[in-house]
Amino acid sequence: MARRRSPADLSYALVIGGLAALALLILVGPVVIVLLTSFTEGRSLKFPPAGLSTQWYEMLFDPARSRAIHRAAGNSLYVAGVATAAAAVLGTLAAVGIARRGRGWARALDTLFMSPLILPGIAFGLAALMYFTLIGLRPSLDLIALGHVIVIVPFVLRTTSASLTQLDQALLESSASLGASWLYTFRRVTLPTIAPGIAAGAFLAFIASLDNVPVSLFLAGPRSDMLPIRMWGMMESTLDVRVAAVSGVLIAAVLALMLLMERLTGLTRRMSS
């Protein structure tokens, strides 16, 4: 614009710019601080760290001294794998089923499937514990995975539905008019188009399962310890600096996976549309 900068415009730049800078500081600062703290030489969470060392990582990766953490991490990965696979299949089928349906039942189902994002997870966790106990199912990793499927399926549904709107209806019609069966069309036309959407959704679902607290809190038992719950315990009792090292590993893993998914599926773009 050719307009001169007025005092009002200057105050706009200062206030909006200042608040945005504060937002960035709040978003990024804690991640950086955790990473630095995890390399501390001391036994406390003093910041800046007393000196640099990798002792907490060494202790974390030592199978003898950190067995419980390793077991919890293994459990969490198993549950996330099983729950994500189930959520990807069920979510993709449902997304195709209710796509482009303006009718009442499809909207109602969409609302139902998305509701775990809004309803308090802790209420569902308690409900799941009571329900499984009353119908006589013993606590197990598979039961936790079942609970996770419900709360992570919205991620698959959302990204898959979004990518279905990119699907050209004319492609489906020409495939059909050339004599292809529904299944063949699905495999050769629909699936390749929506695959990046499914992959992005499955990635988000996997992270959400690894990270889940409300369901795991109620369904995890002594024999099915989950990583977030164990980390919570380590933070509650004596502040164990290994939590910083676990955090460092998790941040590095997510960063690597995120860069990979960004390349493969344009992940961040899908998350904000």
């Binding site: 089923g97 139902l112 690894l210 109620f218 980390m231």
Partner: protein, 302 residues
């Protein structure tokens, strides 16, 4: 299942059948547990022997629990306000940034979301603690004579939740705001409106659908954030999730835990409906936003 009906053409397998497996899973493992939750709240005793509303009467008759419900909803609203205050300006900066910077900013916004909630909560212990970053800075600059108590305060908890929940505000907001036509802003300024006036008369009204989605997600997530609440809030600040956890897994009073869980469910849902209605009212009531879509609660990313 789809294959049997699918031989005759691409539309033939009634597509609703594809939604059937997930519908059944939700009926069996989502709706049924919630019904059980409601049923268990109607028992008088923790052995589930006598039917009655004793636990409801106990919960609703106790001012302490009313206080807890009020504090929980207040925490949600304060977190929404804080994420809006800093999140919306960041979104404004985002939509005027170059594509290159937008990629960087989006990455910075998404990274905390994908970092475990427990890790993010832990980070704030490091920041807010007696020997934490803020206190070290205050002592070093002699702004405070002694370390401030930041953990176990509402201020500390809202600050931590602002970071933990901000991506949930930003993602739906950016989804709506990046689709706004920049020509509208240029036109407003070319006609002589200041940037402030353009913000309040053009950009803000058009962003309402994204704001509503963001507020809903932040409110819902912060009111149920058990670990952040209990670790940063400590035992001095009591919110409904702590009551639910204590009553079910510590005291083993399932009926009272169910009452607390249903109260959380109902009060959060009521606020969600109220926020959506408010958004629809604001979006519909402004001349500049006449052609807006209704502010549908676009539950996006959790």
């Amino acid at each position: 299942m789809a294959a049997t009906a699918g031989e005759r053409g691409w539309m033939r397998p009634a597509e609703w059948q594809l939604a059937l497996p997930l519908t059944l899973a939700f009926a069996a493992f989502f709706l049924a547990p919630l019904l059980i939750l409601a049923a268990i709240s109607t028992f008088d005793d923790d052995k589930l022997a006598r039917v009655g509303f004793a636990q409801w009467i106990k919960f609703l008759g106790d001012p302490f629990y009313w206080q807890v419900v009020g504090d929980t909803l207040k925490l949600g609203l304060m977190t929404v306000a804080a994420t809006l205050l800093v999140g919306f300006p960041l979104a404004l900066v985002f939509i005027e940034a170059s594509p290159r910077w937008q990629r960087v900013l989006l990455f910075v916004i998404v990274l905390p979301l994908l970092t475990s909630v427990v890790v993010r909560t832990f980070a704030w212990i490091v920041i807010l603690g007696q020997e934490g970053v803020i206190n070290q800075a205050l002592l070093a600059t002699s702004l405070a004579p002694a370390p401030l108590r930041l953990l176990q305060t509402e201020f500390g908890l809202v600050l931590a939740l602002t970071q933990i929940e901000m991506p949930l505000m930003l993602l739906p907001l950016l989804g709506v705001m990046t689709r706004l036509d920049p020509a509208l802003r240029d036109a407003s300024q070319a006609l002589g409106a200041s940037r402030w006036r353009t913000l309040f008369r053009v950009t803000l009204p058009l962003s309402v659908p994204g704001l509503v989605s963001g507020c809903l997600l932040v409110f819902a997530s912060s009111t149920t954030a058990f670990i952040s609440q209990s670790v940063i809030g400590g035992n001095r600040l009591v919110y409904l999730p702590l009551v639910i956890w204590q009553q079910s897994l510590v005291v083993y009073n399932w009926p009272l835990a169910s009452v607390a869980a249903l109260t959380l469910l109902v009060s959060v849902s009521a606020c969600v409906v109220a926020i959506s209605a408010l958004g629809r009212h604001v979006a519909g009531g402004r001349p500049g936003a006449a052609r807006l879509e209704a502010a549908r609660p676009e539950a996006a990313h959790g």
